[in-house]
């Protein structure tokens, strides 16, 4: 199997080629660039699957392929010279993610045939070029073997989101949303880049894996107990880790940098599926998993990750409750679900976090594509209050969407239950010892109720009851390019949870924790990048309530109970023929939630109420004070010369007198300065 890794670069290069083809020749191609995109992502998927097989047979791949820049620099730890390189790292985590990304990208391409081509969109070459570049950037990011390469493709992912969110650039709202997405994530990336520079300057390497990695160097530095940049090593690792985390918060839309994501719904729904499930938003959390060893060295950073995650999970879930646009509900659910992943990783639940990342990729892609299908059915209507009764008219869409909804709500035995439960369990047992984590856990748990509620509110409003508009009564048919991806993802949403049945293992002892073994390197792995290795670095204590079995039962029971009650309330309120709007009964609380807690307002205020006036003030200062001084000098000299020219009397003797006087004065001055009179 070893030779298969020679083809690893092609995984990312295929979509890049598709990008170039779509951009250059898309106009003349039969499906405007869709075919090269489908072939390329299909090829990437095939190769990624081969990588997965290779890794399962015990092989891993870590190779530096290209030296981007090299030079002299002495790191704070004394390493001489530094090389910034491009390389590929394929270990269990990367192989898994490659398959997820290329699969979702492939299905999105196929779905686009029905969603974009069949709906008569213009600008399709640009669309497919964007998808290709997006897939390329994400795949290259996933198997990047060092932090700088990861940063570079992380940024390119941001560019692609800008291009695709702003796809309908002739509207006013799409360009604005695109700008916001790039700007808010750029703000996060600012900290990320400082982190990259700081880590490079500190350890002289940016490698993720091996003895030469910055993770290993950080561990050595902490063990040696030296000072780095004026801080003790532990603190410095925390600081740099938090800086990198800035990028994660931006891309993974965590509080307070989540505001771009709901606006990003301005892009085509297919793009939302790609962004939310497998590319941009996933990139942040994936990065935390990729350099988990570094975070494991710093309990403070981990606790912050967990707390931010738990808070975001709850915060976003409450906002999802009052949304009327089907895509908006899904947008807030994405923010909330990535909060869970952060919570999981923050409490040391590396497997749980990655597990949820995988399950979420499937069911969120499914839900977004399902929403896309609904939008086609509804003749491009997105308001759920105008839907209703689609259940019998579009059974494929309904049942696949339902599978995704059950997974999202965390209902046993759908995939989302297993991973969310594992996250909450991990948070619970750590929380028993650490009060901060307990708070994060409590927020995560509370979010389960809201998740159940908004998910089923969405399902009932969309599919159940009586049709509430003409479009809902007479839906537009959808073709197989739309249905087929839904079915594939629908099956995955049901069964993917089987990859890691941790509660079953803990209760019965049956070894059904395939993903845990996978990430722990029981097949193939790179030393130091395994679940076990991370576990040794973690400083967390865990507790139990009674026995481990009882703890498992309590954690799972609680989250199931909340999920069912949330879904139940939604059932009661909205699974009726003629649902009514309850929004008014929420009163002022509802106003605050509907305004998204004024998060947008204060960020817009920061941009337009603070920065812009400051810029204008700077401009006025520049025009008046600085340029005024420059012009003042010229005015003064013009004025002076105007006066001075009066001595040009035209009388030769006057000139002779001035000449002599001037000469004497000059001589005296020079003489005085030169020291002749001393």
């Amino acid at each position: 199997m070893e030779g298969v890794f020679d083809f690893a670069p092609a995984i990312a290069v295929f979509p890049l080629v598709a990008f170039v083809i779509a951009l250059a020749f898309g106009k003349h191609l039969p499906k405007k660039g869709a075919i090269p995109g489908i072939l390329a992502t299909g090829g990437s998927l095939l190769l990624s699957a081969l990588m997965l097989v290779a890794v399962s047979s015990g092989e891993v791949y870590h190779e530096t392929l290209y030296e981007w820049a090299a030079g002299d620099a002495t790191s704070a730890t004394g390493v001489e010279g530094i090389a910034f390189t491009f390389g590929i790292l394929i270990d269990p985590l990367a192989a898994l993610m490659l398959v997820i990304v290329s699969l979702v990208a492939f299905l999105v391409h196929v779905f686009s045939l029905g969603y974009m081509n069949a709906e008569g969109e213009t600008g399709l070459p640009r669309y497919y070029a964007g998808l290709g570049l997006f897939t390329f950037s994400m795949l290259a990011f996933v198997y990047a073997d060092n932090l700088l390469m990861a940063f570079m493709f992380f940024e390119l992912v941001g560019l692609c989101s800008f291009l695709l969110i702003g796809f309908w650039f002739r509207t006013k709202s799409a360009p604005s949303a695109a700008k916001k997405a790039f700007l808010v994530t750029r703000f996060g990336d600012y900290f990320f880049l400082i982190g990259v520079v700081a880590i490079a300057a500190t350890f002289g390497t940016l490698q993720f894996a091996g003895d030469e990695s910055f993770v290993a160097a950080a561990q050595t530095a902490i063990d040696d107990g030296g000072t780095l940049f004026g801080f003790d090593a532990q603190t410095w690792v925390t600081i740099t880790g938090l800086l990198v985390l800035g990028g994660v918060l931006g891309k993974s839309a965590q509080f307070p940098l989540h505001t771009w994501l709901p606006d990003a719904m301005e892009g085509p729904t297919t793009v939302s599926a790609l962004i939310h499930a497998a590319t941009m938003v996933a990139a942040g959390v994936y990065l935390v998993a990729r350099m988990f060893g570094y975070y494991a060295l710093s309990p403070t950073t981990l606790a912050i990750i967990a707390f931010v995650g738990g808070f975001t999970a709850l915060f976003a879930a409450t906002m999802g409750v009052v949304k009327d646009d089907i895509k908006q509900v899904l947008a807030y659910s994405t923010i909330s679900q990535y909060g869970y992943m952060m919570l999981g990783l923050g409490v040391g639940g590396y497997v749980a976090g990655v597990f949820h990342l995988m399950n979420h990729a499937f069911f969120k892609a499914l839900l977004f594509l399902g929403a896309g299908s609904v939008i086609v059915l509804m003749h491009h209507e997105q308001d759920m209050w105008k839907m209703g009764g689609l259940k019998d008219k579009a059974p494929v869409t309904y049942y696949t969407f339902l599978a995704g909804a059950l997974a999202l709500a965390g209902i046993i035995p759908f995939s989302g239950f297993w991973s969310k439960d594992e996250i909450l369990y991990d948070a619970f047992i750590v929380g028993l010892e650490e009060p901060v984590i307990m708070a994060a856990y409590a927020m995560g748990l509370a979010a389960v109720f809201f998740t159940g509620f908004y998910t089923f509110r969405m399902v009932f409003l969309t599919f159940h009851g009586e049709p509430r508009s003409e479009a809902a009564e007479d839906p537009h048919p959808v073709g197989w390019s739309i249905k087929a991806p839904l079915i594939v993802l629908g099956v995955l949403a049901v069964v993917a949870g089987a990859a890691n049945l941790a509660p079953v293992y803990k209760l019965t002892g049956l070894e059904l924790t395939f993903l845990e073994s996978w990430l722990d390197g029981e097949y193939g792995a790179i030393e130091g990048l395994t679940y076990g290795a991370y576990g040794e670095l973690l400083a967390y204590e865990t507790g139990v309530v009674g026995t481990e079995q009882l703890t498992v039962m309590i954690a799972a029971g609680l989250s199931l109970l909340l999920a069912f009650s949330g879904a139940g309330v939604a059932w009661k309120l909205y699974n009726v023929p003629e649902p009514v709007v309850y929004r008014d009964r929420l009163g002022r609380v509802g106003d605050v939630i509907e305004a998204n807690y004024y998060q947008d307002e204060y960020q817009v205020w920061l941009a337009e109420g603070v920065t812009l006036p400051l810029a204008r003030a700077a401009d006025r200062f520049d025009q008046t004070a600085i340029d005024g001084a420059v012009d003042g000098v010229s005015t003064a000299s013009l004025f002076g010369s105007d006066r001075l020219k009066r001595i040009q009397t035209g009388i030769v003797t006057n000139y002779a007198a001035l000449l002599v006087t001037g000469f004497i004065v000059l001589l005296l001055v020079l003489g005085y300065a030169g020291g002749w009179f001393l």
Binding site: A73, T74, L148, E155, K172, F187, R616, D619, V630, G674
Partner: protein
């Protein structure tokens, strides 16, 4: 001989174009400019120099000839290239060729004079980067001003006289300051130097030959000269607070002049800072000024970006963003590390390409709409998709998007500055300056959102169609170079660091 051929072809070409009829001048100038461009690319591939031109390195394409003897000093025709100047020569020749092509559409008046002046600028710019005798260098340095003054003053916008005179007087006064300071330095070196050759002067400085002059002790003299030259060059760069001539000059200048102004003329200042201030002076002279210079660098970055944010004229936006970008160069230089100074030099080339591209793109939009105000237009992407596509690509290049040259330059500078031991509080200065990457994204995206996206609308009475090929082709060339340098920065970075290393070794860091 190669440098003489480059300069000679440009000079003779300038005269030939002057005499040519208006109708063929543009094509003729283009054809002539291909010769230096082609030759300099060949020189780039055949480059065999090593080390720093001022610090005893092996020069490439060196030639020397006695010229004038002035008292005890020999003035020589002394030219040659090292790894830091050759990329700038190549940048110059390529940008001139592209600027000529981009003039075909907008310039429709006195063409032969226009293109003649452009070629005349080219000759002098090559001279500035190649000359190694101070006197010779200064002749080229000053001679650049005249054609640029005329380009702005004759073919410029409504306030062209004001802008041209401001540009000329401001930079000329600065040159005078710098010239006087340098002559004082040479006198201070006394008998230890017998010519204006820069390597000789540098060697004498390094050997500690600087004596007293005019009542000033060696250290005071060196410090005073350092400051005076810094200010002199700072105007050219420009660095805050000496930057106010730049937006006026850019706004009034015709597009091709803006391309050369931002692309190459600003680099004269940063190149001279590198050549003189940061190569000739011992580090103990520079040391007291490290913190102020770093502060000025950070202020230039942030303040320049804030000014750009307040503008609604596309050209003013790009002009102010140059102030911001040049701030990074200063930060890289003062860091005194290989990546810092190397990155600063890389940024000179990269910014030359990217700002050139941006000015061309803005120019193409102006050609079609006859306005540059973002408030006057929206949805231009609808009518000129290719030109706007390139504008967007250029804007992302300006924002430092990875795999484009701007990222490589900025990353080197940030890394080089962060790890600097010469600069106190280096991480803090670096982190502050880096905030520029957020503001730059803010003003460029905001401007694009208003001007090129949204529903199509134009306040002026012009019919906007697709840009002609010869407007778009030069931008494609630049974009290709920007991406090439972003993917493979070692193409020139290796050469640059080779020239930078001796500076650091001499500095005992």
């Amino acid at each position: 001989m190669m440098i003489e051929i480059l300069i000679g072809v440009a000079l003779i070409g300038a005269f030939a174009t002057f005499l040519a009829p208006n109708r063929i001048a543009g094509k003729l100038a283009f054809a002539i400019s291909l010769i230096p461009a082609g030759l300099s690319i060949w020189m780039f591939s055949a480059f065999d120099g090593s080390g720093n031109a001022l610090l005893g390195g092996d020069l490439a394409f060196e030639s020397q000839a006695a010229w004038i003897t002035l008292g005890a000093y020999d003035i020589t025709w002394f030219v040659g290239l090292d790894g830091s100047s050759l990329p700038l020569v190549v940048l110059t020749t390529i940008l001139v060729t592209l600027a000529i092509v981009s003039s075909w559409t907008p310039i429709d008046d006195r063409e032969s004079q226009f293109y003649g002046l452009v070629l005349f600028i080219e000759a002098n710019l090559i001279g500035v980067f190649a000359a190694l005798d101070f006197f010779l260098w200064f002749v080229f340095w000053e001679a650049v001003l005249i054609p640029m003054y005329l380009l702005i003053g004759i073919w410029g916008g409504p306030r062209r006289k004001y802008a041209a005179i401001k540009f000329f007087v401001y930079t000329n006064v600065a040159s005078l300051l710098m010239f006087g300071a340098f002559i004082a330095l040479v006198f201070g070196l006394g008998d230890s130097v017998t010519s204006f050759a820069l390597p000789e002067i540098t060697a004498a400085m390094a050997a500690g030959e600087l004596g007293s002059f005019y009542g000033l002790g060696p250290t005071t003299l060196a410090s005073a000269v350092f400051v005076a030259m810094f200010v002199g060059f700072a105007v050219k760069v420009p660095i805050v607070p000496f930057h106010t001539w730049l937006p006026d000059a850019h706004v009034e200048a015709p597009t091709p002049a803006s391309v050369l102004l931002a692309g190459v003329l600003l680099k004269m200042g940063t190149y001279a800072l590198l050549r003189f201030n940061f190569t000739m002076f011992p580090t103990e002279i520079i040391e007291p000024f490290v913190l102020p210079i770093a502060a000025i660098a950070v202020i230039s970055v942030i303040y320049g970006a804030m000014l750009a944010l307040a503008q609604t004229d596309l050209k003013r936006i790009v002009a102010y963003s140059s102030v911001s970008s040049m701030g990074y160069v200063i930060l890289g230089l003062i860091a005194f590390t290989q990546f810092g100074i190397g990155g600063a030099t890389f940024q000179m080339v990269s910014h030359g390409l990217i700002s050139g591209l941006m000015f061309m793109a803005v120019g193409v939009i102006y050609n079609a709409t006859h306005t540059r105000m973002v408030t006057d237009m929206s949805g231009m992407a609808d009518r000129m998709p290719v030109a706007v596509g390139i504008l967007i690509a250029g804007a992302f290049g300006y924002m430092g998007l990875p795999l484009m040259s701007g990222f490589a330059a900025e990353f080197y500078i940030f890394f080089g500055a962060f790890e600097s031991t010469f600069l106190e509080y280096a991480p803090i200065f670096t982190a502050l300056a880096m905030f520029g990457i957020v503001v730059v994204a803010g003003y460029l995206l905001f401007a694009m959102q208003r001007a090129v996206f949204g529903p199509y609308n134009l306040e002026t009475d012009y019919e906007v169609g697709r840009a002609p090929l010869h407007d778009v082709a030069p931008m494609f060339v630049l974009l290709g170079l920007i991406i090439a340098l972003g993917v493979a920065p070692e193409l020139i970075f290796e050469m640059i660091t080779d020239a930078v290393d001796p500076i650091l070794d001499g500095g005992e860091l």
